[in-house]
């Protein structure tokens, strides 16, 4: 008995498993790629909904930059390659990244303003045999991984819940895809548009008229860095004291100090604290009397400049207590100080940047897509697409009843078709697939192909009286040849989309393929089995 009806048993097991996946609390979710809080799970099921059905914003864009592959750095590993390329291209050293592999390295430049020709010739003048054809648009997977991590941090730091960031690739090109529910498109764009590189620069007056050689170029767009150029005012010097966010070990939330200014308390890492203190000592920041800061107010003095993406966002002199701890060297053991900004919202932005880190390369928003759906509209879509699906099922039912006029054939057919969709929904909940409209279209497609195949089975078996199990078996096998062949073509037709990952169509393709597989392997054999039970004696 059980051996004869194992197909029905299998269907029941899968339906039960799907029910557990859909309704059991705490299950589901799966791996939502880099989701900060997981995707929003709403309603009574474990199903997750994508942008189309929950509302919010999505931005998809590539990172700007170029990659040169097969740079033969040899065993010395191209130690000074970064500096050479950076100075050749006139970009910051943080914008050049050398990734050594076995023997040869991959070199990336993180800027949208460098041409392939310029990059190739910079590598050539650094002594490497690189042609323009070795340089390609786009950046490595590792860089994208970093960017995804930074963006996830940025989103969670700024208090947006349920956001998800992931790398998607489409035809060999990578994109970062950022999705945040309940968020306005332009606000999200503002949050991710900037690279958010934060540097701390020591700015100070030097004796005499000549700028010492250790000084760096001017900072900020108003270029009030090196005073020697304009002839008036004191001669000043810029030295990078902290090159990036990586120098910070701990960043606290924005607070107000005694005078009511918004401040961000920070702690330096052990590695960063020592060289920082040494620089402070060398350039006179350890003298409590050097506390005036004239940056932007006539120039001169001793200032620490907070520079974000090349813009000076804040300048201040060193507090006498802090200067004393630089002088005594105590700062190395307790590298805590406060940085600030002009107003509370800027301080908040600074805090997010410090905490989340900087994007390795800027997002090229001009080459991507963006999407926004008002949450209430998405909610409406959710309900209406459910109704649309039900109406489609109703239409199928009417057609089936008109054709067969036999509830014993038609009712199991409908139930089987529906169980196929139910199992598929369970699958979606299990892997944490955020459902979008394209998936709904896929579900309806599955109902369509599913019922088609059940019609083939029914017609084959019903062609004349089924008297014995043997006749049944041979008919069922014949029907199955057609179903299997049709299923194989559907899978083949959909697989380019599932593999090429044409963004939004990928979900549709995956649902259709999985649906067809569930149908062929589980539900459709079970329907044959049901018919046999109903039409024969065993």
């Amino acid at each position: 008995m059980i051996r004869e009806n194992w197909r029905i048993g299998l269907l029941v097991i899968f339906v039960l498993a799907a029910a557990v996946a859909l309704f059991a609390p705490g299950l589901g979710g799966g791996v939502a790629a880099n989701a900060t809080d997981g995707n929003v799970t709403t309603g009574p099921t474990n199903l997750q909904y994508g942008l189309d059905l929950s509302g919010g914003s999505q931005i998809r864009a590539p990172l700007s930059g170029l990659t040169a592959e097969g740079v033969d750095v040899g065993p010395r590993g191209g130690n000074n390659l970064t500096g050479q390329v950076a100075s050749e291209l006139n970009v910051s050293t943080t914008d050049v990244r050398v990734r050594p592999g076995n023997g040869s390295a991959t070199v990336e430049v993180y800027s949208g303003n460098v041409s392939q020709r310029a990059f190739a010739s910079a590598l050539q003048s650094a002594g490497y045999d690189i042609q323009r054809s070795d340089v390609s648009d786009g950046l490595t997977k590792e860089t994208y991984d970093t960017a995804v991590e930074v963006l996830s941090n940025k989103i969670s730091e700024s208090g947006l819940s349920g956001g998800s960031v992931q790398t998607v690739s489409s035809g060999g090109e990578r994109y970062v895809s950022i999705e945040v529910p309940n968020q306005n498109r332009s606000e999200l764009r503002e949050l991710v548009a900037d690279q958010g590189q934060v540097k701390t620069i020591a700015y100070f007056t030097v004796e005499g008229n000549r700028t010492p050689s250790y000084c760096e170029g001017p900072v900020g767009t108003n270029a009030s860095g090196n005073g020697s150029a304009n002839g008036t005012g004191p001669t000043t010097c810029n030295v990078t004291a902290l090159p990036s966010q990586q120098s910070f070990q701990d960043v606290r939330p924005v607070q107000q100090d005694q005078s009511g200014r918004p401040v961000v308390p920070v702690t330096l890492t052990e590695e960063a604290a020592k060289p920082f203190t040494e620089k402070m000592q060398r350039f006179g920041f350890d003298d409590p009397s050097n506390r005036t800061c004239g940056y932007g107010r006539g120039g001169g003095g001793h200032c620490l400049l907070t520079v974000r993406d090349g813009e000076v966002v804040y300048s201040a002199g060193v507090d006498p207590d802090l200067a004393r701890s630089f002088a005594s060297g105590e700062f190395v053991d307790d590298p805590v100080y406060q940085t600030s900004a002009q107003n509370a919202s800027q301080a908040q932005g600074l805090q997010v940047d410090l905490q989340a880190g900087a994007l390795p390369a800027p997002l090229n928003l001009k080459e991507g897509t963006s999407q926004y759906i008002l949450p209430s509209v998405a909610q409406r879509f959710k309900g209406l697409s459910l109704v649309t699906g039900l109406v489609a099922v109703l239409a199928v039912s009417v057609a089936i009843f008109v054709r067969y006029r036999e509830p014993r054939v038609a009712v199991p057919m409908l139930l089987t078709g529906l169980s196929e969709v139910f199992i598929l929904l369970g699958f979606a909940a299990t892997i944490g697939l955020p459902l979008d409209l394209s998936h709904i279209a896929g579900f309806i497609a599955v109902i369509g192909t599913g019922v088609d195949d059940l019609v083939i089975i029914a017609d084959e078996i019903l062609q004349s009286d089924v008297s014995t199990g043997r006749v049944f078996k041979s008919r069922f096998r014949r029907a199955f040849w057609v179903i299997g062949a049709a299923a194989a073509t559907t899978v083949i037709a959909m697989s380019p989309l599932a593999l090429l990952s044409l963004g939004d169509l990928r979900g549709f393709a995956i649902i259709t393929i999985v649906g067809v597989l569930i149908g062929v392997l589980i539900t459709r054999p079970a329907y044959g089995n049901v018919l046999r039970r109903l039409l024969t004696d065993n």
Binding site: G171, L384, V402, Y404, I444, V482, P496, L497, L500
Partner: protein
Amino acid sequence: MAALDVPAVDYTDYTDRQLAAIPLAVLVLALAVLGGWFLMTGAPVTPGIEFTGGTELQVTTGAGQAQIQDSFAALPAVDGQPTVTPTAGGNTFIVTTQSTDTDALTSAAESAGYTVESVQETSASFGSDVQQLGVLGLAAAFVGMALLVFVLFRSLVPSVAVILSAFSDIVVPLALMNLFGIELSLGTVAALLMLIGYSVDSDILLNNHVLKRRGDFYESTYRARRTGVTMTLTSMSAMAVMAVVASKYVFNIPLLSQVGVVLVMGLAVDLMNTYLLNVSLLRWYKFEGIAR
């Protein structure tokens, strides 16, 4: 069983040429439409903004169409002014433009007091990448299907019959899309791919009945036709209902309605191709092709 039973067409009344003439004429006509479209517009079909790049806003407002047009008039015109299309409720309008200055568009809409329901922006470069991939995906799907069909039937004429009717099932809806003003979008590409799967179903069924089973050609064809027509009509009823229910006159879910419309067209064409073109090729193969 009267209502949905297939009409008892007597295939013996018609020659193979007569049977094949209609679907082939339709196919040639469709190719002519696509060719003409290509000469006139530079592309065989009209790509939507997902492929050309541009912005689509959906706004609700009590204002009229002309008034909405005016509120975007101040923006710098890129490739002409935005087009404004009304939808179902009368209060919702779709604003489409080739411009990707989406911030300017949304702020224009907001300052005019409209509620922005959705915004979709695609850059031109992303769009052309997607378009390339779409064409590639469609071609790969078709070639994969064709290879599989050859493997399944291992003889030329029946395989060609299946592949030719699948080809026509895609080309004729494409031409109809041009005539009805439906743009090529991600949704319609999905529907065309689905058509490959759907259309091959009934062809495989027919070939299987005629080639792999004993019995008279007409008897086999009749059985296959009865099952196949049921299948196609069932799918068509589901898709037709989806197309109507999701259309802009009822629920206004464009993606679902596009998929539905294209599939209804494709399945209707498939009925014609399977039971005129495929049958005639199979009959020729069965009675003359094998004999030679």
